[in-house]
């Protein structure tokens, strides 16, 4: 067991390093750098900057050095817990995204929870009652859920809300609390605003999780161990929940870890539409403006979150599935 874990851990670390390099490279890909776009922006707004001034700025941010040097310098900082400075915001990266990260996490967790609370029971029900009317209805809904991208749902809901309720349904806070320091009232306000974005974000993966659950369970329902349990005198639903559902849930446990970062990255577009104060809009802007350290940090964090999540969910799977824990069958 231990050598295996060590191997997995090493792989995870290597993947993280690779992701950080990839991130850095991608951000640097466009011709020019932050200063170039900064100068262009200044020119657009009427002011000018001399080449000397630009060079000074470049030196100040270390942008004049070759990329590997910039990368290593950044990594050295990251390892110490310092993610560098955002050029666009002119503040430490941490200050820019600290609270946004937390909110992103809250929204995503709520979305994942919504997904599971909706998808798993529906998946179980439609599998057990295969070919029933409810099965067809939910399968159809599931397909529609798959087909409609969540940013479109967000857009339509926003439109409907604006049209019929006359209010903006976006955001995570009422205007009064948007910039306020944390308080219980602010948490309450957040809880009040949370369901809608959570639902919109959750719906997309609900269809998928539902279909996977249904397919998994249909496979398990055909296994003889269910008949054995019924032949012992188990009531139908109790037997289904104890045996096939338990086995069919295992694959989901293995997704627990990485579904969260997945939702986080998927939320970027929805956050833009709904105007949520999460990392999504910041990431978008920083990528467009080539705000190197800000964008780099966000992408890196998402990547690392995925890797760590996958690692943790593998551990979880080992813990709950005796077939894997005890060395597998032939």
């Amino acid at each position: 067991m231990l050598p295996y874990l060590a191997r997995r851990l090493m792989l995870a670390v290597m993947t993280c390093v690779f992701i950080s390099i990839a991130t850095f490279t991608i951000i640097q890909l466009p011709p020019g750098d932050y200063i170039t776009s900064y100068v262009a922006n200044m020119a657009a707004s009427g002011s000018t900057m001399t080449n000397q001034e630009a060079e000074v700025l470049r030196r100040q941010y270390g942008l004049d050095e070759p990329m590997p040097v910039q990368y290593l310098r950044w990594m050295a900082l990251v390892v110490q817990g310092d993610f560098g400075r955002s050029m666009e915001w002119n503040r430490p990266v941490y200050d820019v995204i600290g609270e946004r990260m937390l909110l992103t996490f809250v929204v995503s967790a709520a979305a994942v929870l919504t997904t599971w609370l909706l998808a798993l029971p529906i998946g179980i029900y439609t599998a057990v009652r295969q070919h029933s009317v409810a099965d067809y209805v939910f399968t159809l809904l599931g397909f529609i859920g798959l087909a409609v991208p969540s940013f479109l749902i967000a857009l339509v809901l926003m439109y409907l809300g604006f049209r019929y309720l006359g209010t903006s349904v976006g955001g995570l806070f009422s205007p009064a609390y948007a910039e306020a320091p944390w308080s219980w009232a602010r948490v309450g306000d957040l809880a009040w605003h949370l369901p809608l974005p959570a639902l919109i974000l959750g719906l997309g993966s609900t269809a998928q999780v539902m279909r996977v659950m249904r397919a998994n369970l249909l496979d398990e329902l055909r296994k003889p161990y269910l008949v054995t349990a019924l032949a012992r005198g188990m009531p139908m639903w109790r037997a289904i929940l104890k045996y096939p559902v338990r086995v069919a849930l295992n694959p989901f446990v293995s997704t627990v870890g990485y579904i969260l970062p997945y939702v986080v990255s998927g939320s970027v577009i929805v956050s833009l539409v709904l105007g949520l104060p999460t990392v999504g809009p910041v990431l978008f802007k920083s990528l467009v403006a080539q705000d190197l350290f800000l964008a780099g940090t966000i992408v890196l964090m998402l990547g690392v979150l995925t890797v760590v999540g996958t690692f943790l969910s593998d551990l979880l799977l080992i813990a709950i599935d005796p077939r894997i824990r005890l060395g597998g069958s032939r």
């Binding site: 003889p224 005198g233 139908m236 077939r323 032939r330």
Partner: protein
């Protein structure tokens, strides 16, 4: 373990017929709706199970045996549905309940399952939850029906596991099903079914997935438990040997109908339905020794969609009366003593008898197999062949000890003979076959094949092109007729493929040769354009044989070529293989686990155990005078075919199971299970395979045996000939 002496002698059963029956099934009908009609999967089944009796339901696949069991428990899987009939169960209070009227998932039905009727299944691996411990599932069974503390439930579970002969029951209680071996799992399954002491046990093919020595253990256990508890058993099987071993009464099913029923001795010795007779006679065990042609039933079990009008069996029946059998469905005819048959000629004494028939059979064609010349040089020589696999197992890919599938195996195959390679699962017989054909590479040793010019070709190190020409001379027939044919090619393409890719024939010549081949294996020209999906298992196996023979091979490796087939179809294929051998002078290496098939078709037999040959000799010699304790145990574990014989015979029951090929025992690999092991030489020194003459070998060449004590041991054999034919 107890012998079978407690079994009530079958012949006396009329006198002892219990006054009351435990279960009476009347007119049970289960149907399935299909587009454009209804399939009658069960079309009026009557079964009666008396107290403390064993009733066997026997039939080929698709006849509705398992559905009967599931219908009785009211657990038919959708879209099947039970549409009529009565299922009367005598409860513990003596009152009969009609289970057919109960809500299948209601409280009363649930309290019957597990408490009044226990059930065990064919595949103990999948019939037990993979993520719950044995103890968890057993305790659940107890708690469902009785109010007991957890501690008490646990203690009772341990007792029950102990009762079914599971070693270290307290530890095994916390094990998962995949941690147990096949035999252990089936024991645990039985313990689970019996933990509430049900008066009736329904066993659905409980030993079909097990090796023959394990099957013998489980059958013994079930007999023992029945004698101890006085429970009744409804035993479902396709194996007539198991029926002969277990049954008090037999119910023969065909296409959802009971075609014959009665006390086991009567059904076996005086079968009145042509299907029962044919089933008995097509069994290779029936014929006993090699050389006789089996009497196969024509065709295969029809699809329920094409159920024949009139008597469902008439289109395969040799005795069908035109105008009657193909029009009218017969009613069961009572023949006295609880014996009845659903046939228009049931009350006529049959022209062909059942098992013991003293008259020489007119229809039984005696085929003299070509004498295998002992002096002819072998066509294939295997010398100290070893095949080991490095392995990483499970999700964690942990490196394990290498699997030593085959160890220093030496064998010579003589031209024109059929050499049987027999052993239980995991003994390395299939691996050996695959290595001869070089889809596996040997770890050590050599395989050499005699060319036309008499020179020996070293197969172990053949390069690509030479391997290709070698594979034209040595062909293979696979076990699974479904997966061994490319479903996307027509029969003509499949059979012609070897001719085409080897550049032997093309164009019209190719077509002619393929057509001739197809006719040779008993198919028709019109089949050429069809795809495999249009054929039954037996027909597919014929296609596989035609493909193997297309390039005029000298030798054919038959890897369990008939073990996936129903017994009536199996007889057809065995006859075909024999005919082709006579016609073409083929050499067969016949790999099989079924002793009766091997005994029927092979000239010589090599018995394998743990990757090596333990005994080798003339088929008759090996079966009648085994010199190795394992051979003897293996032979005695095989079910007898005559219900009358089961009481008197001597049995060697092997303890334990086949060793894990990754951790073979030292010395003689059989010593931990051998009752003759001396604890010194057997433990330390692996015996060589040597010719060991015996007193009985009347003129025949001696068996080669890998046992230190082969010359001194007296071992029981199964008797030479089946009753009546000697």
């Amino acid at each position: 373990m107890h012998g079978p002496d407690r079994v009530i002698p079958a012949m006396s059963m009329d006198a002892e017929r219990p006054a009351e029956s435990l279960l009476r099934v009347k007119g049970l009908r289960t149907h399935i709706d299909v587009p454009g009609g209804v399939l009658r999967v069960l079309d009026g089944i009557d079964i009666e199970v008396g107290c403390a009796r064993t009733v066997c339901i026997v039939g080929e696949s698709g006849c509705g045996k398992s559905i009967t069991a599931r219908s009785i428990l009211r657990l038919v899987p959708s879209p099947l549905r039970m549409v009529g009939g009565e299922i009367l169960l005598r409860g513990r209070d003596g009152v009969e309940v009609d289970m057919a009227r109960l809500d299948p998932y209601g409280k009363q039905m649930r309290s019957i399952r597990g408490r009044d009727i226990g059930m065990i299944f064919q595949e103990p691996m999948t019939a037990l939850s993979p993520v719950h411990t044995i103890g968890n599932q057993m305790a659940e069974a107890i708690h469902l029906h009785e109010k007991v503390s957890r501690k008490e439930a646990r203690e009772r579970s341990i007792q029950m596991l102990h009762r079914v002969g599971l070693p270290k029951p307290a530890e095994r209680l916390d094990a998962y099903s995949f941690q147990l071996s096949g035999g252990m799992r089936q024991r645990a399954m039985i313990a689970m079914a019996l933990v509430c002491g049900p008066p009736l046990l329904i066993a659905d093919e409980p030993t079909t997935a097990l090796d023959v020595t394990t099957q013998a253990q489980i059958l013994d256990l079930m007999r023992e438990l029945r004698a101890d508890t006085g429970m009744s058993i409804l035993f479902i099987t396709h194996d007539l040997g198991v029926v002969a071993e277990m049954a008090d009464e037999v119910v023969v099913m065909y296409l959802g109908l009971v075609v014959e029923r009665g006390p086991v001795a009567q059904v076996f010795h005086d079968p009145r339905h042509p299907y029962t007779r044919a089933l008995l006679r097509s069994n290779p065990r029936h014929g006993g020794g090699a050389g006789r042609r089996l009497e196969a039933i024509a065709g295969g079990v029809p699809d329920l969609l094409n159920r024949p009008i009139g008597c469902p069996f008439h289109n395969r029946c040799a005795e069908a009366i035109p105008g009657t059998c193909d029009r009218l469905d017969p009613e069961p005819v009572a023949l006295g003593g609880g014996h009845s048959a659903r046939c228009w000629i049931a009350d006529r004494p049959p022209a062909l008898a059942g098992v013991p028939s003293t008259a020489p059979r007119a229809a039984a064609q005696i085929i003299v197999s070509p004498p295998v010349s002992a002096t002819a040089p072998p066509i294939l020589e295997i010398d100290r062949l070893s095949i080991h696999f490095a392995q990483r197992r499970g999700f964690l890919r942990r490196a394990m000890a290498p699997v030593r599938a085959v160890n220093a195996l030496s064998l010579a195959v003589l031209p024109g003979e059929t050499l049987g390679l027999v052993g239980e699962s995991g003994c390395g017989k299939t691996t050996t076959g695959r290595c001869i054909i070089r889809t596996l590479d040997p770890t050590g040793g050599s395989i050499r094949f005699r060319q036309d010019d008499g020179s020996m070709l070293d197969v172990t190190h053949l390069p690509g092109s030479a391997l290709k020409s070698y594979r034209r001379q040595v062909r293979m027939i696979f076990q699974d007729p479904y997966s061994s044919l490319d479903p996307r090619m027509t029969v003509a393409d499949i059979v012609g493929e070897p001719l085409k890719v080897n550049g032997i024939a093309k164009g019209s010549e190719l077509q002619d040769r393929v057509a001739a081949l197809v006719r040779q294996v008993g198919l028709r020209d019109e089949h050429l354009r069809r795809y495999p999906h249009a054929f039954s298992g037996g027909e597919r196996q014929r296609i596989g044989i035609a493909r193997a023979l297309s390039v005029n091979p000298k030798m054919v490796i038959c890897d369990e070529a008939v073990s996936a087939l129903d017994v009536s179809v199996q007889a057809q294929i065995l006859n075909l293989l024999r005919d082709l051998q006579d016609e073409l002078g083929l050499t067969y290496l016949f790999i099989a686990h079924d002793l009766s098939v091997v005994r029927h078709i092979c000239d010589r037999v090599a018995v394998m155990y743990a990757g090596g040959i333990v005994e080798l000799g003339e088929t008759r010699q090996v079966f009648e005078a085994p010199r190795h304790p394992y051979t003897s145990a293996l032979l005695s574990a095989a079910p007898v075919f005559d219900p009358q014989e089961r009481a008197g015979r001597q049995r060697v029951i092997l303890a334990g199971e086949v060793p894990d090929p990754a951790h073979l025992p030292s010395g003689c690999p059989f010593h931990p299970r051998c009752q003759h092991a001396d604890g010194a030489q057997c433990t330390n020194e692996a015996p060589a395979l040597l010719p060991r003459a015996t007193a009985q070998s009347d003129g025949m060449p001696p068996n080669w045996t890998a046992c230190h004590y082969a010359n001194t041991l007296t071992l029981p054999a199964i008797d030479g000939q089946p009753p009546g034919s000697s």
